[in-house]
Structure formats: C-alpha cells, structure tokens
C-alpha cells in the first residue's frame, strides 16, 4: 500500500526546496488567470480514428488497447496550460497486459456464476436462494466496477504529465468500492434522495486523493447546494412516477385475471387513462434534467476545488453539453442512413439486393456495422473534440502558482493498467 502522501510530500518538498535554493537562490511566483488552451482539430483526429477502427476490426478487437492509447495521447497533448502541453505516456502494451491479468480472474468467475445461474434461475426455483445468489452476484459486480473506476484513474493519472511532472493517485480502491456499496444501499433505501450524498463522498474521495506532482487537489463542497440541485430532477421523477403509480393502484387489477385470454391485452391497455399516458410520455424529458444536474454537479466540483493556491471556476452550461451529443447523434444517424440507403440502391442496380434481405441476420449485422463504423469515426471528431473544447473554454484557473516548488511525486507507478475498467467498459474515451 502507499505510504501516506502527506509524509511523502513533506519529505520531498524539504529536499527539493533545499536543492532549488542552492542552485538558483530564489523561486519565481506567477500570478495566473487563464483557461487551459485546447487546439484539437477534426482533420487531425480523422486519420487516427479511421486507422484505429480498421485495425481494431482486423484484429477482432485486440488493437483497441493501442487505439485507445493513440486517441488519448492526441487529446491530452492538445490541452496546454501556461504554454506547455499535457502529455500522455501510457502504452497499448500496458493496457493489453492489464487486460490479460483481468482475463485470468474474470473469465473463471463468469463461467462459475454462469453455470450457477443456469441451474438456479429457472422458473419454479426456490425464490430465496435465487434472490440471495442474485444479490451476491450483483454486489460483487458493483464492487469490481468501482475498483475498476478507481484503478483506471490511478493508471491514467500516473501516465499524464505536464512539464514532465506526473499526476498520481493515493487512497485505496478497495475502501472506495466498499464505501460505494454502502452509499449505494443508502441511495436505494432513500428512493434516490441520498444520491448527492453518495456522489459527493465518492467524487471527494477521488479528487482529494488526486495528486499532481507533490500537491493534491482539495475539494471542499457542502452537501446542501447539491441536494437543492438534485431536487429538480428528483421531484420531476417523483411527481410523475408517483402520479402514474397512484392512478394505476386505484384500478381494479383483478379484472385482468378474470378476463378472457384473448381480451387480456385490451383490458390491460384500458387501465391506462389518457392522463397517465401523457404523464408517461413526458417522462423521457426528465433525462434532460439529469444532464442539467450532472453539469451543475461538475460546476460544484470544479468551483470548490483548490490546487495549492490555485482556484478553479467553471461556467459550463448544460446546453453546451447537450448540443455536442445532439449533433453527434444526428450526424451519425443521417450518415449511416445515407450509406445504408446508398448501398441498397447500389446492390439493387447490381442485382444483389435480395441477397441482403434473404439473410435477415446478416443484413442486420451489416446495418449495425455501418453505424458502428460511422459512429466510431464521428464520436472523437465531433463529440469528444467539442466537449473538451467547451470544457477548457469555460474553465478559469486563477491564483498564485510557483512552478519551481511543484515537485515530482515519488508515488509508485502502476505497471499495467485498466484491465478491470476495460472489462466493464467503464468509459468509451
């Protein structure tokens, strides 16, 4: 386990400060007020995305570790602060080795649970046994997921540097995952009301253990504002679900049991009055409120974080996040539609269109493949590029900063990375 970061930092600071005073006699203090600059260009992303896609396809997915590394290296190197770019030095091989390690653990686990599920989860099985098994299985996966998130962040930070100074992460992934389970149970038990409490704890744990050089970030953020913000989507969902649930509970459901077999569907539908249907129809708009809350949260985390004497401020708005997603989905759908329509027309001309339709499963696979290819190329070019750009533009870093006294951390550097996160598809970036 890591020795406490504080001790390490103090020791390191003392040694390095002495070193600086001997060699230079003085340190420079900068007054900073600027946004990180982002200089990514779609025309540079396109060849990376295209070759990544082709190679990933040709290698049945194995190349994705190298693909991820290339695209990450690009985006991270295009963000710069005080004139110097960030740098990502992870390698595809490290990700691949991490993956193999996890493969050796997860595949036997999945096989054993798969066989157990096969015999346990059948109709007429003892419900308590099944419930206990399913709960255990779900908790194990939830636990591993959080371990994966934490470890992946540690790996990425250890490979990200600025002016040669590495990031890093202390703290325990296991402790983090245990807390995540406890707080997850609390959130479920309070019908989602305690969600901001969970988020605040988990995000604070991750941020306060996030080091850059010898300095860690500090996030001090009260739970009150978060709860107030969370009320917006929560009340929306509570009101609609409550109304729908209440209206349906008023109905006499025994009618369905007594209905003639061919009338069950009609009787079931008659339970839903126009008002209930309208209420259910506006439910999806709640997801826009969830996006709004997420962005609100991001502003809270950023605005209440400090790094030494540097403070952060974000003016990110929910619409600025929604637009890239809309643009990306719209373009990906339109482009795939055009390609599919074009290929059907072409095949009809060549007399092969019926081939496409005779093999229903294969044509379905073809449609999925077209969308996969187009989305795979457009996602980094439009979505990722746009999101990083807007994130940087709306961020201000302000305060006193002395680069001379920000020293390299001596944290242990993980040798392989992200196997678990990869297995759980934690992020698509």
């Amino acid at each position: 386990m890591n020795e406490p970061l504080d001790q390490k930092i103090r020791h390191r600071n003392a040694v390095a400060r002495a070193h600086v005073q001997v060699s230079r006699g003085q340190t420079s203090m900068l007054m900073v007020k600027e946004a990180p600059a982002y200089s990514g260009r779609a025309s540079e992303i396109f060849p990376i995305a295209l070759t990544n896609l082709i190679l990933t396809f040709l290698t049945v997915g194995i190349y994705r570790f190298w693909a991820k590394t290339r695209i990450r290296r690009y985006f991270i190197s295009r963000v710069s602060f005080l004139g110097d770019p960030l740098e990502y030095s992870g390698t595809g091989m490290e990700l691949f080795i991490g993956f193999l390690i996890v493969l050796a653990v997860l595949v036997p686990l999945f096989i054993v649970t798969g066989i157990l599920r096969y015999f346990l989860e059948r109709p007429g099985a003892e419900t308590t046994t099944v419930a206990i098994f399913q709960a255990g299985y779900f908790l194990a996966l939830y636990f591993l997921y959080h371990v994966a998130v934490y470890r992946a962040q540690r790996y990425r930070l250890s490979r990200t540097s600025w002016r040669g100074i590495r990031g890093g992460q202390v703290g325990s992934a296991m402790l983090y995952a245990v807390c995540a389970i406890g707080l997850g149970v609390l959130t479920v038990a309070t019908a989602g009301l305690a969600y901001p409490v969970m988020r605040r704890f988990l995000v604070r744990y991750r941020i306060n253990h996030l080091a850059f050089g010898t300095e860690t970030l500090q996030l001090e953020c009260g739970v009150g504002r978060l709860l107030a913000g969370w009320m917006v989507p929560w009340l929306f969902f509570a009101a609609i679900l409550g109304y729908v649930g209440y209206s349906l509970a008023q109905k006499d459901w025994s009618v369905i049991k007594n209905a003639a077999p061919d009338m069950v569907g009609a009787v079931f539908i008659s339970m839903f009055t126009t008002k209930v249907v309208i209420a259910m129809a506006i439910l999806p708009f709640g997801f826009l409120l969830l996006i709004w809350y997420r962005v609100f949260e991001i502003r809270q985390w950023i605005n209440h974080s400090r790094f030494g004497e540097l403070a952060f401020a974000s003016r990110l708005r929910a619409l600025q996040v929604m637009f890239p997603y809309l643009a990306y989905w719209f373009l990906a759908t339109v482009a795939s539609g055009l390609v599919i329509a074009g290929s059907i027309l072409l095949m009809r001309k060549l007399g092969g269109a019926d081939f496409l339709f005779r093999f229903g499963a294969f044509s379905g696979l073809y449609f999925v493949a077209v969308f996969w290819v187009i989305a795979g190329i457009l996602r980094p070019m439009i979505l990722t590029d746009w999101l990083i750009d807007v994130f940087c533009r709306t961020l201000t870093i302000q305060g006193r900063f002395s680069p001379d006294t920000l020293f390299q951390n001596q944290l242990a550097i993980p040798r392989s990375g992200e196997g678990l996160a990869d297995a759980f598809d934690v992020d698509a970036f």
Partner: protein, 367 residues
Amino acid sequence: MSMPSESAAEYRSHYNDGQSAASHAVLVYADDAGLAVTGDDGRVVDRWAWDDIRYADPPAGNRPVRLSNRAKSGARLTVEDAALLPIVRAQARYLTRDPVTRRRVWTVVALLAAATAVILFFVYGLPWVARPAAALVPIAWEEPVGESTVNVINELFARGRKLCSDPAGQAALQSLTRKLTAVAQTPYDIRVDVVNADVVNALAAPGGRIVIFRGLIDRATSADEVAGVLAHEIAHVIRRHPTQGMFNSIGWSALLSVFTGGASLSNTAVARLAAHLATSAHTRELESEADEGAVAMLDKSGIGTAGLAHFFESLKRLEKNGPQLPEYLSSHPQTNKRIEMIESEASKPRTPALSPAEWQALKAICR
C-alpha cells in the same frame, strides 16, 4: 558577437528537469555523444545521449517538438529552434520506437504464449473439461432446465398451440422410443414431445428431453425416417451433449464478453459471430458422434439405417433450394459426408420401426 561555428552551433529550447515544474530557457549544443543542455550562465546542466532521446509526443504540424529521455523520467526538452530537428532526426536512432531489448522480446514471447494458451484452452480444453463436468451434474438438476427449455421452444415456434398430445400418437412415439433405448444404456428417463410447428427439425434438451417438430413427421415418408432422427437425438442425450453444449457456450460467452469489452451493441454482434465460428467445429464433432451412436442403435434394434439415410437425402434436396453454408460456418457436418458415413455402416432392416397403424397414429399426433 559570437562566431557561427560548426561544432558549437547553439539552439534555443525550453528545458524541464523532471524534478520540478519550472521551465528553463536553455541553449542546446549537439555533438557526437548527444545533446548538451546549458543554462543562462553557460554551465552544462544536463547531457542527453542520442540513443536515450525520443519524441515525447508524435510531432505534428507546426507544434514545437518535445523530446523526452528514456534514462531520465520526467525530463523534457521543447525545441524552439527548428534547425536542431534535422540533426536530432539524423542522430537519434530510437525517436519513435524503443530499442529491442531482451526484456521486451521476452514480454512479447510471454504474451503470445499466454494468448495461444487461452485460445487452445477454449478450443480444445473447454470441450475436454465439459465432458467429465457434464457427467458430474445430477440428472435431477437438469430436469427443470429441460422442462423450461421445451416450454420456451414451444412458445417460440408453436404460436400458442400446445404440445401435440393425441394419445394414440403418443403411444406410438413411446413404443418407438422404447425400441431404441432398449438397446442402449442410459440413466435418463427419455421423454419425446412434438411441437406443433412446420419446421423440419428435432433437438435434444437437458434432462433427457427430446423435441420433434411436426414438420419433420409431416415430410417423413416412413416411420423409419422418424426413427432415424429420433435415434440421432437419443444418441445426443445418452452422451450428455446438451449439458456439454451448455458448459461450452457459457465458457465462450464469458470469454467473449470480457474480450470485447462490455456488452455494447456492435461488440455483441461481432462476439456472436466469433462464438459461432469457434463452437461450430466442436458441435460438428458432436453431431458426427450422435450419427455414429444412431447408426449403432438402429442396427442393434433391427430397424436399420435406411430411414436415416433417406432422411439425409431429402435434407440434401431441401438444401439445394436454399443457400449452402460452407462446412466451417455450419454447426452440422456436410450432409454428403453424413450420408457416406451411414452408407458405409448400412444394415438391412429386420423389423419395421412402427406398425402401419402406429405410423398413421403418429402422423396424426397433432390433431
């Protein structure tokens, strides 16, 4: 005024020492050994050997080129004077890729070995383990699984119609089953159901359950043909192939879900195709085994193999009208090969599979 001299050309750069985030304006000199970094007072603060130098980022457009040093983690040199770059490119041998060290070679060898071991395990080891593992499963465990499998198949194919249950037809089916199982040993209490759907197929489920589709009985020209197919499915059951197949598919889906990284839509489609390719070779083997078992059973019971051979002949005619998959894509051996196998073992019928009255009853089982 400084005289321009070939050996002492100086290049403006920025230098990070890897110890602190300070950025130092430096002058860099190039010589045979590498780069020398000098501070404002002219003192050499760092020396970089040519073979240690590499790009910190792949160079692109007019971005300043940043160099890092394999031997000095964290140290960076940002080149501002582009005149230095041709010299660096000419001298530094490992700018883009690391030198091949013994350690790297061993890593790659170990990775290839591990990958091969994983693939070999899933292609050969898993079926090999599945066989004894299937033998360990108590038959009582399989029964509810078989029950729900049969129900699901009936729901999928019969569009709400119940399993065919004409008593005389069932009696005929039972007597045929008994004739075949009498000459084989099995702990299963084999039960055959007929699903009311126009599909020419039959299958074996766990727990000794066999499903025959009505379409197969409708198209069959004699009871011997049905007997041949039934013997094939019974052979599957006796060898516990359904349970083995279940173990295999769980193993593959576990591997592929981890391999393709989560279960997004595209990955699922690719994974399914890969799983199909990977397991079809193994199922072909099981099918051949069941064919052999069926031939032995038909022979011993005196029914003879002509019916099974005839069934495969008509299957061949059906295939001619539809697309023919190459053998490696198909889960069954090519029909021609199966017919050859059966004919090489052909035996003359000694007793009919069913009496004419029983055969009529079986044909009417779904009424």
